[in-house]
Each structure stands twice: as structure tokens, then as C-alpha cells.
């Protein structure tokens, strides 16, 4: 991953077991170990890991594997956030409460910075977590609402690759993009 994100300090808790009484506490839950591109180790419950379609297929291909699953495209910080999200989603799966779920999702998103969001999207995509991707994409779409073109570029860290002439032509073709935007 070529992300410029300096990996967060290695405080990222290796995900502890959260022996919730309402989940299947009877069985000792199997742990799966994930390794991010910046070499952090995440230990997650199997049920959480199975939310990650990529990981799931990894195990389907080699069911007996007990190895650490390397995630070469994923850095620690977004991964931890993704795991956090998935853990909650599992609770909602066991105990459906749409209102609660919506509320949680909204909170989850509002406390994330723009950068967090943009960083999480590739992770969610790589891990193929459809629900999360849905939520994130919508959040991103909402966040660039009524923003200037420059703002959007900054938001995603995109370089303006138009030449001056193209830009001028664009101003005409897309003139309406430049009117009535919010303050950045």
C-alpha cells in the first residue's frame, strides 16, 4: 500500500476477546490472526473475520490453515476501525435492531475524520465488506456535498491532472460546478 499514512503508534490494541454474554459464549471462540502491511498483528474472533469476504475465501481455499493472514494492502489504523465496525455489526446480526444500527453507524461515521473515511474505503473494498462499503461510500458522497472542486480534490488527495487549456474548457463545460458552493 502506497498510502502515505504513517502507521499509528503501535498502541493499536490487539483486539481483545470480548466475552460478551449474548454471543455464543458456550464455544471457545476461535481466533484468527491478521497482519497488516505495517506488520501489526490483529487477533480477531472468527465470526468477525468471516465478515471479511477476502479472509473468508482465504480459509475456504485452505481450511486448515492456522497461519497468520497477511493483508498486504491494509495498514493498521483503518484496519482497526474496520474491525471495530464489524464487531458491532455482528451484534446487530444476532440481535436485529434497525434503529440502533442506524444510530451506531451514524455515530461511527461522524467521529471519523475525512482522511479516516477515505483510508477505510480501500480497506473495506479489499476485504470485501459490502455493508461497510455501502456505509462509507454514502458517507463520502454526503461529505462532498456542496463543496468546491478544490475541496473535493483535497478531500481525496487527488492531483489536478488537467492542463491549463483543459481546465479552461472544463470551466465552460462544467461551469455550474463553480457556483454556489459552501465555504471550504
Amino acid at each position: 500500500m502506497s498510502s502515505s499514512t504513517d502507521s499509528p503508534t503501535l498502541t493499536t490494541e490487539t483486539t481483545q476477546l470480548s466475552p460478551q454474554p449474548d454471543t455464543e459464549t458456550a464455544k471457545p471462540t476461535k481466533k484468527i490472526t491478521l497482519k497488516s502491511s505495517d506488520n501489526q498483528i490483529f487477533e480477531v474472533e472468527e465470526s468477525v473475520a468471516m465478515e471479511f469476504a477476502t479472509v473468508k475465501s482465504f480459509f475456504e481455499d485452505s481450511p486448515s490453515s492456522t497461519d497468520i493472514v497477511p493483508l498486504p494492502n491494509v495498514t493498521a489504523k483503518p484496519l482497526s476501525q474496520v474491525i471495530e465496525f464489524c464487531k458491532e455489526q455482528i451484534k446487530f446480526k444476532a440481535n436485529p435492531d434497525e434503529a440502533q444500527k442506524k444510530k451506531y453507524n451514524a455515530e461511527f461515521l461522524t467521529e471519523k475524520s475525512d482522511k479516516d473515511l477515505v483510508d477505510m474505503i480501500p480497506v473495506a473494498n479489499y476485504l470485501e465488506i459490502k455493508d461497510l462499503l455501502d456505509v462509507l461510500n454514502q458517507a463520502v458522497a454526503d461529505r462532498i456535498e456542496n463543496k468546491s472542486v478544490e475541496y473535493v480534490r483535497n478531500f481525496f488527495g487527488i492531483d489536478n491532472d488537467f492542463t491549463a487549456e483543459e481546465e479552461a474548457a472544463l470551466r465552460r463545460e462544467h461551469a455550474w460546478a463553480y457556483e454556489g458552493v459552501d465555504e471550504d
Partner: protein, 771 residues
């Protein structure tokens, strides 16, 4: 999964998204070309390379971007939110391509997104609703998207609520008028890159040409067999390089000097008739193809000329018709009104989008020949509708195959038509104005029928509208209303003769008790002529006055029209003396209100002074106050004449003798013409006076005759003495006692006046403004 393979998938995905449905399948080709922008050379590799080069963002693969942009697009179907979509397209090249792939044309999604959408055809089903606001002072017209008429009523026309699409400025020239159309409201320069095109009128304001700033989009290929070669636009040598004639609008004048309901004829050269045939498509430009700053003139010219070659070789520039005729352009015409059985009137259904009657209102449908194979439902679709909803506010609803630009230009032409023919009538300073009974406006489809709003007044159940072309501007309407319902037993208005229009209401010229209006229809050759007379009654039985207008209704092949030729009673103030003065009875002698008066079946309404129904009494009084004739009433009911005149106090003096004809002229009439001050001013002498005194008296007063009186107070006449003895040139008039003297001069003057009056009336009659 490798990036490239994913990309490939995505691209396929995009393509399939857009090839759903028959319509889209037809044009997959075109789309493919279009969305891989020419500068990219086409091909998914390039696109993916592009994305991979974008280092900071390379980790967000295109399908995610696609998803994000799709969400942005999906959540914002109206402005101003839709701006975000345009912003996405401006971020960088890859965003631009993906956004373009996500965004559909107005035809497909009913949304306007990019400025280029304004040059693309509108949706096929529900029209795009816009409105136009006119700024008279600045001569500008602004086209906004959306907003229902309700919003207008509440005056919430704030700029941020509505999206400015196009703006036009009227520029008068020596021999024509130009409406320059721009994408912004501040710059109308033709060389600016915000310039969209223009509308140019001819000198008379009867024919207009629409110019587009950009050459037509490339020819559209289609599987449809009917599809012909679509595009070809001539570069007229007389116009600047960036104007390409795409359509003409002409207004038909009718022979009666009145335009009546305008009949329009729009030929859209840039859209083939095949566009509305089964499976047909209209040309859809996908981008502005000649931004000024990028294009060298030669390149521009070659681009334009290339598609022309075929046509130019066979016919020469200049007669554009011959060039275009090869491709059967789309032609639009006015929709004919329908007979509304319940309301008993002719209606055009504007579906509540038009609330004020105006000469400008129109609905256009395609004019097709049977051989052109256009489905019936396409023929009946209103492609463009334009109408007034308030002062300087008009709605414009357009749909496929017209673009917003074309629709706007056509509507602008409605602002500039001149009453070319009625001007000649005005040259004699006649206070009479041309009146038109125009298209009805079928407003809200409620049980109450149609509503007309005019300020705070609401007239219910009325459908016919008289339109006055007043002096101040020809657009002002008078929301004249005729009760569509029948008036009890009198059967005013219509006895239907459905299908033919107006029926015979009453015998000509006979007004019955309680009738206010009656209509006479005549069967003419090839159509029905109808004359409308309005009778006004006092309520106690006799006809007091009549307003006569010679309405002519013609049932031509193009539909029905009624022309309100003129109004009978006129006064010093202007046309509507009857109505205006009637309405303003308290102010009957003022110059009267010229505008916004109307006649209806049972009321006279004036918006200026006293809205609402006015008592008949008031109307009659108003009429009396006019110093003009009440011709029909007088002619038809001569016995009533004295009654009216005496009550109106007009018989006292200076009554014109012209009513009677020479054979009926009485000495009293002649005597009256001398004027009050002269009537009693005859000179006399007494039988006891000397001849010398009498001659001296005659010489002193420069007269030739004296009445000779017997001595005494009674002024009994004894005889007459004149300066000569062979001609009797003076006759005393005796009514018990002498009341005056009539000379040959008086008689000649009366005769001349009589004949002059007759001559004038005949003249007026010939010219058509006689009543």
C-alpha cells in the same frame, strides 16, 4: 484480482448499465465512443493507467469511485444539489470519465446536469418544467429550472431556489431584433464562451431564425431503417462563424388584419422527423465541441463543413430549405383546441401550468404527414408549452426531441412578435383597439372548472378569454371571461352545435329580456363564421344599449379560432369604453381605463378600478356617458332612442344629425345644429319701424333678412323682410311663438354634416372599425 481485470469489469459494467432497454441499446456504440473521451484514444487500458498514475488515490479503485459518484448522482435529482455531480466531473480526468458514464442525458433521466444538457433533447415522457422571467427594464429573459406555479404565487422566486439555465438579452437592430442567449445572466457577448446561440427576427417580427453557437453533433447511426442522415448544418455566410442556423419559427398572420390566436410554424432543421418515429432518436451532442480558445478557425471550419459536403454538392447555400428538405426536418405547429362539452367552450389543456390568458400562450405538437409514419400518441404529445402565469412570469415545459435551448429560443420568439397588421389600423388614431378572443386556458382541473388569477381576483368557470392589445404593450391581456355555463333559459352563448363551434344563439339583433350576450353564427364557405353581439339590458325589458362586436370565428383547417375584431361602444378613453366605463361607473367621465377590461356574458370586469362584477346599471350608465352612438340599439329600437338620450342628458346640444338620413331630418334637427347660443339669436324689427332702421339693422349685423313682429309682448310674427325679393333664404321657425330662424346656410351645413357623417361611417365600415 488484478487491478486491470477489475477495471475491465467495471468498464463492462458501465456499458451494460447504459445499454439496458431498447433505447439505450440502439446507441451503445455512440456511448462507447463518447465516454471514452477522444483525447484518451479509447480503451480500458488507458483509463486504468490513468487511475494508477494518480498516486495518492490509486488505492481507491474505479469501481468504488463509480459507486461514490453514483451515490452523489442518485441523491441529488434536483438543483442546486445536482451541482455536486458537476463538481465531481471537474476533479480530475478519471473522475470526469466516470462521472460522465454515470450521468445520463435529460432524455434518459429527466435531469439536467451539465450545461451541455441544455442542448440535449428533453425527456420523452414527463416534460421538464421551467419558467421564464422577464425583466422589462433590462430587456432580459431568464430561464430557470423547476418551480411550480404555486411558488410563484407566493413570490418565493429567490435565485437560490431555482437554477438559472439560460439567459437572453434582446438587442434591437436596424432591421431585426436579436435575442442573444447565454449560459450566464451577465455576459451576452457573442465571442464569449458562455454564448449559447441566438434568435433573430425579421423586420416584421413574423419570422425568426434560431442559431446555435456550435455545429451540430456528429451524425447519429441507428439500426432503424427509417433513420435518415441526420445532421447537416449550413454555415451561413452572413452570420459570424459561431452561429449555425438550426431552426426557424414563423408566425402566420391572418387576412383579417388581426393575428388572433397566433399560429406558429417551427421547422427544426437540426432534428429529423425520424426522431419521433418509432425507435427514432434525436441528435444528442455530448460535449461542447468547439471551445473558442482551443479551436483554430480552420479546424472549426473543416469540422463543420465535412458533413455538409453531401448536401452542398447538390444544392447551394442560401436556400437552406432545399438543403434541409432532404432530411425531412421536424415541424411543429400549434395544437388545436378541443371542444369541451361541459364547459361549452374550446379549450387547450395546459394542465394547470398556465393561469393567465395571453396572446403568447401556446402549445406545440408535431406536424406530420401521414406518410411519415409517426405514431399517433407522438403526434398528440405537446412537445413545447409556453404560457403566462403572472406579470412577467411564464412557464415553459419542454420534452423530447427539443432541447432546452431550442425550446427557450422558440418561446423567446413569442415575446417579440409585432402586431404587424394591426398597426395600419391604428394609423387613423382610432381609439378602437384590436381585440382578440384567444385561446382558452384550461387551468386547474377541479370541479370549478378553470381558474384565472389576476391579482386578488379569481374568476371561476370561465374559459374564453378576450385579449386586448392595448397601447402600452401588446402583451397585456385582459382576462376577459365568458361564463361558460348557460344562463338559464336564455341559452346565452352556446347552443353548442358541437364540432362546429359557436352555434346560433339568437336571431340576429334581437335581444331578449335577460340576455346579455348573444351570438350569431353564419355558415360561410368552407367554415363557420360567427358574429358575436353583446346586448345590454336594463332589466325592465327594453334594450338599452348594445355592444356589438363583430367577432369572427373561423373554423379553418388548422383548428378553431375566434377573433375579437372590435368592440362596439367606444369613448374618448379607448376601446373599452363600454366595459371600462361601466366598471368604473363612479368615474364615468374619466378617460377610462383602457386595459384589462373585458366583456363577459353577464358582467364587466375591470381589474384596474373595481374588481368584480359590476351591476348592469353601472354598465349602462357607463355607456351613456360616452359621447358616441349606441348604434345598434338605436337602429334596432328607434323608439328607445329618446329614452336613452334624454336620460343620459345628451339631447341638449350638439347632437349629431347623422342618425337619421337626410329624408328624416327635421327643421328642429337643423335648428339644433346651430348650437344653443345661436338658436335664440335671430333679429327682428317691428311693423312700426321705418325701413331705414331695418336696413341699418341688417347692415350692422351683416345679415339679409329680419323677422317682422307685431307690436306687443307676445312676439307674434307679422312677416319677414329681406334685402332682396326673389329668393327666400331665411325661414322663421314657429312653435306657438317664434323659436328661431333657419337659413339656407344652416340647411346646407346640416346636409353636409349628414353626408360627411355617412361618408365617415361608410369608410369605417369598409375598414372594419365601424360600430
Amino acid at each position: 484480482m488484478s487491478f486491470k481485470s477489475k477495471l475491465k469489469e467495471i468498464r463492462d459494467d458501465i456499458t451494460t448499465t447504459f445499454s439496458m432497454g431498447k433505447l439505450q441499446r440502439n446507441r451503445t456504440n455512440r456511448r462507447g465512443r463518447a465516454y471514452i473521451a477522444p483525447e484518451l484514444g479509447g480503451g480500458s487500458e488507458l483509463l486504468s493507467e490513468l487511475i494508477e498514475e494518480q498516486s495518492p488515490w490509486a488505492n481507491l479503485p474505479p469501481e468504488l469511485l463509480h459507486d461514490v459518484i453514483k451515490r452523489v448522482e442518485g441523491s441529488e435529482t434536483s438543483w442546486p444539489g445536482r451541482r455536486d455531480v458537476v463538481a465531481c466531473a471537474s476533479v480530475c480526468k478519471s473522475w470526469r470519465e466516470i462521472t460522465k458514464a454515470v450521468v445520463k442525458t435529460p432524455e434518459q433521466c429527466g435531469c439536467i446536469t451539465f450545461p451541455i444538457s441544455l442542448k440535449q433533447p428533453g425527456p420523452r415522457d414527463a416534460p421538464i418544467q421551467c419558467f421564464i422571467r422577464r425583466e422589462r427594464a433590462a430587456s432580459t429573459y431568464h430561464l430557470y429550472l423547476g418551480l411550480s406555479p404555486v411558488c410563484h404565487e407566493k413570490k418565493t422566486l429567490s435565485g437560490d431556489m431555482s437554477k438559472l439555465l439560460l439567459a437572453a438579452k434582446k438587442i434591437r437592430k436596424a432591421t431585426s431584433t436579436d435575442f442573444r442567449i447565454s449560459f450566464v445572466g451577465s455576459d451576452f457577448c457573442q465571442t464569449s464562451n458562455t454564448y449559447a446561440g441566438k434568435l433573430r427576427s425579421n423586420f416584421l417580427g413574423t419570422k425568426f431564425t434560431i442559431y446555435d453557437c456550435q455545429p451540430p453533433c456528429p451524425r447519429v447511426k441507428s439500426n432503424c431503417k427509417l433513420q435518415r442522415k441526420v445532421r447537416s448544418i449550413q454555415v451561413s455566410p452572413s452570420v459570424p462563424a459561431r452561429n449555425y442556423s438550426v431552426a426557424t419559427v414563423s408566425y402566420e398572420l391572418n387576412v383579417l388584419r388581426t393575428r388572433g390566436p397566433r399560429r406558429m410554424h417551427c421547422t427544426i432543421h437540426s432534428i429529423p422527423i425520424s426522431a419521433i418515429q418509432e425507435g427514432g432518436i434525436a441528435p444528442t451532442p455530448l460535449e461542447f465541441n468547439n471551445p473558442v480558445d482551443e479551436q483554430s478557425p480552420s479546424l472549426c471550419a473543416s469540422k463543420v463543413k465535412q458533413p455538409l459536403v453531401d448536401f452542398i454538392s447538390t444544392s447551394h447555400a442560401g436556400s437552406s430549405d432545399s438543403i434541409y428538405s432532404k432530411m425531412d426536418p421536424l415541424v411543429l405547429k400549434n395544437k388545436a383546441p378541443r371542444w369541451h362539452e361541459q364547459l361549452q367552450c374550446w379549450c387547450l389543456n395546459f394542465k394547470g401550468r398556465v393561469t393567465v390568458a395571453s396572446v403568447k400562450n401556446f402549445q406545440l405538437v408535431a406536424a406530420v404527414e401521414p406518410c411519415q409514419n409517426v405514431p399517433v400518441e407522438e403526434q398528440e404529445k405537446v412537445i413545447l408549452q409556453f404560457g403566462k402565469i403572472g406579470k412577467d412570469i411564464f412557464t415553459m415545459d419542454y420534452r423530447y426531441p427539443l432541447s432546452a435551448f431550442q425550446a427557450f429560443a422558440i418561446c423567446l420568439s413569442s415575446f417579440d412578435t409585432k402586431p404587424a397588421c394591426s398597426e395600419s389600423l391604428d394609423s387613423d388614431k382610432s381609439p378602437l383597439r384590436q381585440h382578440r378572443l384567444l385561446q382558452s386556458v384550461h387551468g386547474h382541473a377541479s370541479q370549478r372548472g378553470c381558474n384565472f388569477f389576476d391579482g386578488d381576483r379569481e374568476t371561476v368557470g370561465c374559459t374564453w378569454v378576450a385579449v386586448l392589445e392595448g397601447e402600452e404593450c401588446c402583451e397585456d391581456v385582459l382576462p376577459g371571461t365568458r361564463e361558460a355555463k348557460r344562463d338559464g333559459d336564455s341559452g346565452c352563448w352556446t347552443d353548442s352545435a358541437a364540432g362546429r363551434g359557436w352555434g346560433v344563439m339568437r336571431e340576429e339583433g334581437v335581444a331578449r329580456d335577460g340576455d346579455w350576450v348573444w351570438v350569431v353564427a353564419r355558415e360561410g364557405d368552407g367554415g363557420t363564421d360567427a358574429a358575436l353581439d353583446c346586448g345590454v339590458r336594463d332589466g325592465d325589458g327594453g334594450t338599452e344599449a348594445a355592444l356589438v362586436s363583430r367577432d369572427v370565428a373561423r373554423n379553418g383547417d388548422a383548428g378553431w379560432e375566434v377573433i375579437w375584431d372590435s368592440v362596439a361602444v367606444r369613448g374618448r378613453g379607448g376601446w373599452g369604453s363600454a366595459a371600462g366605463r361601466g366598471a368604473g361607473a363612479k368615474d364615468a367621465d374619466s378617460q377610462g381605463s383602457r386595459k384589462r377590461n373585458c366583456l363577459s356574458s353577464n358582467c364587466v370586469v375591470s381589474c384596474d378600478e373595481k374588481p368584480g362584477t359590476v351591476e348592469m346599471e353601472g354598465l349602462v350608465r357607463g355607456i351613456r356617458s360616452c359621447q358616441e352612438t349606441l348604434r345598434v340599439a338605436i337602429l334596432k329600437h328607434p323608439n328607445e332612442r329618446r329614452n336613452i338620450l334624454s336620460r343620459s342628458g345628451r339631447a341638449k346640444s350638439s347632437l349629431p344629425v347623422r342618425e337619421k338620413g337626410l329624408e328624416n331630418l327635421t327643421v328642429a334637427d337643423v335648428l339644433m345644429t346651430k348650437g344653443e347660443e345661436k338658436i335664440g339669436s335671430w333679429l327682428w324689427c317691428h311693423t312700426t319701424d321705418s325701413v331705414y332702421d331695418a336696413v341699418k339693422n341688417m347692415a350692422k349685423n351683416n345679415i339679409g333678412s329680419l323677422v317682422v313682429l307685431k307690436p306687443g309682448e307676445q312676439q307674434l310674427i307679422a312677416g319677414i323682410i329681406t334685402e332682396r325679393d326673389h329668393h327666400i333664404r331665411h325661414v322663421p321657425v314657429i312653435d306657438g311663438k317664434i323659436v328661431g330662424i333657419v337659413s339656407i346656410v344652416d340647411v346646407v351645413r346640416a346636409v353636409v354634416e349628414q353626408q360627411g357623417g355617412e361618408l365617415k361611417r361608410l369608410n369605417e365600415f369598409i375598414k372594419g372599425d365601424y360600430y
